[in-house]
């Protein structure tokens, strides 16, 4: 019941977000049809604005937008006038999903073991090295990591392609570049969680029962320790899935991350609102999944 409630509540939330995004992007100076070459006559400019209803008051445009939305029509891109927002999402989202999904797997595959080891071997050299490595990953900006990786693996060693997104070979470097930061974060969060779990009542009870340390950690502490990671994984996944602007521009990957930023810079109203809605939906969905996972993992958690 709780989850159904959350889903129902999501709808007014999404509406509010669309209104907010709509208002924000109309607020910014400059419009979608400001160009370097000014139109031939004022009549033309008037015509363009009338065609896309930009001459109406903002609230009216918003209502019109909502009307279209009810039909599943996100509108036409104001910059790429032959493409609809649905086209853009349909083409770009699968790519971003793949990129984000792979980055997620990489981040988990690297972050969880590192976090685990640094927690299990706390205070010893594995902890120091692992922690340093994890924090280091969090401190390097993505737009530095990516070119450096390209330099090493694509240019100097020539093992992998430089850019684009065509064969499985192309899908190795970008998710790594994207996932490194999150791997570091996950390692840190998991370490925190594990250290906290090692002190919790569950584990103390299990230890009192006489369980071996090894089983203790793996079976019981992990279930509690993983909770903060799960909690973080929700928004992290939403961020990853909407693509990363930096990675997509450097590797020239046709995802929607580039659109998210460029549409704001281009004042492409329809794309901005459409993608904001998409992001919000993903985030809400991920958060719901996180809460669900919580109930699976931690028996203390109950939702009314």
């Amino acid at each position: 019941m709780y989850f159904v409630n959350r889903l129902i509540f999501a709808i007014p939330l999404l509406l509010l977000i669309s209104a907010l995004a709509f208002a924000l992007v109309h607020l910014a100076p400059g419009g979608p049809f400001d160009r370097e070459r000014s139109p031939a006559s004022p009549e033309i400019e008037r015509n363009i604005r009338a065609k896309y209803h930009l001459d109406e008051p903002v609230w009216k445009q918003y209502l019109r937008y909502l009307g279209d939305l009810a039909h599943g029509d996100f509108g036409v891109s104001l910059k790429y006038r032959n493409q609809t927002v649905n086209d853009i999402i349909a083409q770009g989202l699968p790519v971003s999903l793949t990129l984000g999904g792979l980055a997620f797997c990489f981040a988990m595959a690297v972050g969880l073991p590192v976090g685990f080891i640094t927690a299990a071997r706390r205070g010893r050299w594995e902890d120091l090295a692992g922690s340093f490595f994890a924090i280091l990953l969090v401190c390097i900006p993505a737009f530095v990591v990516a070119p450096v990786l390209i330099l090493i693996f694509s240019i100097k060693l020539q093992w992998l392609p430089v850019a684009l997104w065509e064969t499985p070979c192309h899908m190795i470097l970008p998710p790594i570049a994207l996932g490194l930061f999150f791997a570091g974060k996950i390692a840190r969060i998991f370490r925190e969680g594990m250290l906290g779990a090692a002190q919790s009542e569950f584990v103390t009870a299990a230890r009192a029962k006489g369980l071996a340390e090894h089983t203790l950690l793996l079976r019981h502490a992990v279930r509690i320790g993983i909770l903060p990671v799960v909690s973080y994984a929700g928004p992290m996944l939403a961020d990853l899935l909407t693509g990363s602007f930096v990675i997509e521009s450097i590797f020239q990957i046709p995802g929607i991350g580039v659109f998210l930023v460029n549409s704001s810079l281009n004042r492409d109203y329809t794309v901005v609102v459409g993608l904001s809605l998409l992001y919000a939906m993903l985030l809400i969905g991920m958060n719901l999944m996180v809460d669900f996972a919580y109930t699976m993992l931690d028996p203390r958690v109950k939702y009314e």
């Binding site: 939330l13 924090i135 530095v144 906290g196 002190q199 602007f245 998210l260 809400i284």
Partner: protein, 314 residues
């Protein structure tokens, strides 16, 4: 025996534990050293001879383009022949200022928001947290772009800036800081709210209320001092995030204005020089190295503070 009798406040406890954490102490010293260098360098330039000062003026364009590090230019020069060492130090001013101001802004908004929500409870809490949820669901970049563009225009049009370009420039930079803080307070608000919620039911607060103390008095006197610890640690962890975000904005072309430099702009410039043919390594290694070192130090410091303050960890 005397140990047990002595009163040690939680703060002193924390400080003792902190001192034992070597990496945190090392980081603290590094940051102090960096700060000293940043403050001292403009003074050095001022009091040194004109030749030295001109050579190391971060804005002085010269013909010595792209020269690698040498005795004259310790970090080399860039496209315009400007001294990279000087630019890194002056850029540090901006980047650290961004971090500090942005963090302070997010601190003030976040703590107030979270404390009020947590303490008031009920409907007020509900509304305030719903707003946080909504803002969380909006992609930050849209908000930042619009904020910078719109407020930039407003600054330009406003009367009290007319005729004073220096004021306008500093206002614009401040706007950047505030903008960054304005998008980072959400997590802080959530954390503070959580803490306040649990504190609210504690005995000493109940007692205070029973004695007739007003809500804002209780907030100020009891609640806020008790969340001090957790706030400090999150401060030390938010600051690197804000500095990183500023460098991302510089990559997008939305950061500080040229010819002012921040680490973000220096690094984006440097990164554009990575290519298969010829790499001017000093344009990346030095600004990048300093940025990463500073962020590492801040992170270790934050972790140290958290370990020191958290009673539960051994």
């Amino acid at each position: 025996m005397s140990e047990i009798n002595r009163h040690i406040s939680p703060a002193q406890h924390a400080w003792r534990r902190f001192k034992k954490n070597r990496s945190a102490i090392f980081s603290a010293w590094f940051l102090i050293f960096l700060l000293a260098a940043i403050i001292a360098w403009p003074v050095v330039l001022k009091i040194s001879g004109t030749h030295f000062a001109q050579l190391h003026d971060p804005d002085e364009v010269s013909d010595a383009q792209f020269s690698p590090p040498d005795a004259q230019h310790w970090f080399g020069t860039d496209l315009h022949g400007r001294d990279v060492f000087s630019r890194v130090l002056f850029g540090a001013q901006i980047s650290l200022l961004v971090g500090v101001v942005g963090t302070l802004v997010s601190l003030i908004i976040g703590v107030l928001w979270g404390a009020i929500a947590g303490y008031a409870g009920g409907r007020v809490d509900s509304i305030l947290m719903r707003i946080v949820d909504i803002l969380y669901s909006l992609p930050t970049i849209i908000f930042v772009i619009v904020l910078i563009a719109t407020l930039g225009e407003i600054i330009k049009q406003s009367h009290f800036v007319q005729g004073s370009p220096a004021l306008e420039k500093s206002l614009r930079v401040t706007l950047l800081f505030v903008g960054l803080g304005a998008v980072s307070w959400l997590t802080m608000a959530r954390i503070v709210r959580g803490q306040v919620l649990s504190l609210r039911t504690r005995a000493f607060v109940e007692a205070s209320r029973a004695l007739g103390a007003k809500p804002h008095w209780i907030l100020l006197r009891h609640i806020i001092p008790n969340i001090f610890g957790i706030v400090i640690t999150y401060l030390a962890l938010t600051m690197p995030a804000i500095i990183l975000y500023e460098s991302f904005l510089s990559f997008l072309g939305l950061g500080v204005q040229p010819p002012m430099a921040s680490w973000g702009t220096l690094i984006s410039d440097g990164v554009s020089n990575i290519n298969p043919i010829r790499i001017y390594w000093w344009l990346i290694i030095f600004p990048g190295g300093i940025l990463v070192s500073t962020l590492l130090a801040l992170n270790f410091l934050g972790d140290g503070l958290r370990d020191a303050w958290d009673v539960k960890s051994k």
